[in-house]
Amino acid sequence: MKFKTLKLLTGTTAALLLAANVAAAETPKRGGTLNFVVGSKIPSMDGHMEGTFGMIHPIRPFYSTLIRVNPANPSSTTDFVCDVCSSFSSSDDGKTHTFMIRNDIKFHDGTPLTAADVKATYDKLVFPPKGILSLRKKFFSMVDTITTPDNYTLVMKLKYPSPTFIPSVAMPFNFIYSKKDLDTHGYKWHQKNVNGTGAFQFVEYQPGSHVSGKRYDGYHHEGKPYLDGYKAISAPKMAVRLQAIRGDRAGIEFRGFPPKARDDLVKALGDKITVQEGDWNCSLLVTPNHKVKPFDDARVRRALTLAVDRWGGSKALSKIAIVKTVAGVVFPTHPLAANKEELTKIPGFWTDIKKSRAEAKRLLKEAGQSNLSFTLLNRAVDQPYRILGVWLIDQWRQIGVKVTQNAVPTGPWVDSLRKKKDYQVAIDANCQSIVNPIVDVSKYLGSASNNYAQYMDQPMEDMHAKMSRSGDPAEQRAIMRKFETRLYGEEAHIIPTLWWYKINPHRSYVKGWKIAPSHYLNQHLDQVWLDK
């Protein structure tokens, strides 16, 4: 079952979307406990300093955020609605954002929520004191001041208008903490303790095993949640998560399964399994190290991207890996994304692979690199790193380039990418939560802290700066095209692969949960119910 959405252009305020919701409106049943499996583990419980779904899936339901992706329409990339606010608006110049905070919300410990709590939360996120981690600080670099004119109004003033601000506020990591907790227990208390305003109250955390929550009766979204509680069970092995759903030890897994796993489940259980699928705001990319010869030569990099048959690969790989869609630098269904006509003009996306490979060989010859061989640094993770690694090596073989692979655990992989920078060519990932293209593509700037290719491309920096301060969607789109062509085609700084494809087969009795473009999104679980 796929949820199609209308494509609308994004402005500084969230656009309300109509969703062509395929699922027939059913009356949710109350009660029951949802068991789900999580393929990662919890570092700390403080959303502000963590970046893994291993924390989001079990912990997110305890908390609320200021605004969130519309739970009824999560596959939209531009539909944001209030969570603890009753409304939000922005000034005409796009520099002042006002959030009206609801006055009927209480934390699980009974403390009423006011704008002061939201301010304290955002102060921690945006202006963390010395020694306090905030992984989200960067996203809010445009924020100038946060003020509370009264108990239920929050005003954020920006240094410049930015189309990336509202999507950043909607990020699921921005848990609202109580000012009282921050004041009395300090900024590290939430790493090990929970007190939120979410749909569920914390019950138990057993390290390495599970987290459980029970229904919070004072929840501010009326009538919700439907579940009595949930249990998030840790299961790092994909095979175990799959069999857990098959044997009904769990109803759902929220990250995603490979295609064969979906087929096996459906074959074994028929209509007891419902499958939701959609594009995923993650992709793997090949990063040539520009400081290592011959990858400083744009011709060599272009040859490497021209060798890759993305259209053919999409058909084959979508049967064995969690990748599918061929698209440019922007998430495929977002208004800023390239259409097929624009895309197929970019080298590497040509539909004629023979022509493309001939050009690749010509470029290699011209660069004097006809016998090129190198080592590909990869991450020792099966899906989809290993599969794409094998595929890419075979693609490059077809233009006469010999590649050996060095797949290493996450630690050495990150170390080589970020610290040592000693690799020749590496597979890297860009995986984000909220679809926020202008922020998401900032990874491709030479100046970005998470860009490991070691180049500096001033024209691209300028384009991005212009795009992030532009209020005009049409202008943003035009700049994005130039940015894309330069990145993938002319300079081939980065060699794109396919966009990930999220496949969530689950027990059919799990209702109300809708797939989003990211495994980080729509995980507050207040709308989920069990049809048992």
Partner: protein
């Protein structure tokens, strides 16, 4: 005997110190950095500033000498610190998993001994008959089968067979419940890994029992007993088995010690939240404090079990001199 015991106990100290130095060095030689993995692992935007805060908080910016000093003092005073990954006390992280691991180790040992002793003895007595061959083939197969493969086959087999028989596929519980809380749930989870591990374990013990038995059967006193016309059964019970048991006890002891923290692959396959899984995670996460504490614990258990085995050995077999 007393002197021997004291000497053996004293010999444990250099082993523990050596293991401590080894794990401390190994962990710092592995390329990577817990802060980089945790904050930048999935290609997120992370400034060096944030990484530095994280490193500072975890004490990673201190000199190696200071870090080693803290580690050594911590071990000596039984203060193992907090896990760098979760921030929880290491003892708490380990305690949660220890129970499960210990239970599996006991069950696997029990399975192995119950299967292995009789078959090993039979195999030796009936040496070079078809019974011997079958037992040996089956036991070598136990050693030769990769345990993760066996585990996956067990899980899948249960799902498919149960669906054919009952209409609903059955999967073992994937979450640990202590045996005194719910014995049924506990056993229905732990029995499978115990069997999978027990099979390989039994295979090793069968081979040891067989060869120990063969050796003893050729000793002069057994030959003498035979020559005296004692019944085969009596010989085996009274003379041979007792002496053949010694190397078997050694093996069982060492294997048992190995199971604490050694079931890395099996725990992954059966989703057991045990020490083996914690161990691998800790190493891969660059969680220095946790890995160090785990190594020290496992090594301590190993040397203590070895000590006990040796003492039993010395006590049972008077031929051993304690030089």
């Amino acid at each position: 005997m007393y002197k021997y015991a004291v000497k053996r106990i004293l010999l444990m100290i250099p082993t523990l110190i050596g293991a401590g130095i080894l794990v401390f060095m190994l962990m710092r030689m592995i390329p990577g950095d817990i802060c980089e993995i945790r904050l930048g692992g999935t290609g997120l935007m992370v400034d060096k500033e944030q990484i530095d805060i994280c490193r500072e908080n975890l004490g990673l910016n201190q000199s190696l000498a200071k870090q080693f000093y803290d580690f050594a003092i911590g071990i000596a005073t039984f203060n193992f610190g907090d896990s760098m990954w979760t921030g929880r006390p290491v003892t708490e992280e380990i305690a949660v998993r220890f129970e499960l691991t210990l239970q599996i180790a006991f069950m696997a040992t029990l399975t192995a001994v119950i299967i292995a002793l009789p078959f090993g003895v039979i195999s030796a007595i009936k040496q070079n008959t078809w019974i011997d061959y079958v037992i040996r083939l089956v036991s070598i197969a136990g050693i030769a089968t990769p345990s993760f493969w066996l585990g996956i086959m067990i899980i899948l087999g249960l799902l498919i067979v149960s669906q054919m028989v009952f209409g609903e596929p059955w999967m073992m519980p994937i979450q640990f419940v202590p045996i005194w809380v719910d014995p049924l749930a506990n056993l229905s989870q732990t029995i499978w890994p115990a069997v999978a591990v027990g099979y390989r374990y039994a295979a090793v013990v069968v081979r040891m029992t067989r060869s120990a038995m063969l050796e003893v059967l050729r000793e002069d006193y057994v030959r003498t007993a035979r020559a005296k016309g004692l019944f085969e059964k009596v010989i085996i019970n009274q003379h041979a088995l007792k002496n053949a048991l010694l190397p078997v006890i050694t093996l069982v002891g060492i294997e048992f010690a190995f199971l604490i923290g050694g079931l890395v692959v099996t725990e992954q396959v059966f989703n057991l939240n045990g020490l083996g899984k914690l161990f691998v995670d800790a190493v891969l996460d660059h969680d220095f404090t946790l890995t160090q504490a785990l190594v020290m614990m496992v090594v301590t258990i190993f040397v203590i079990v070895n000590l006990l085995v040796d003492l039993i050995y010395a006590w049972v077999d008077p031929r051993i001199h304690y030089s």
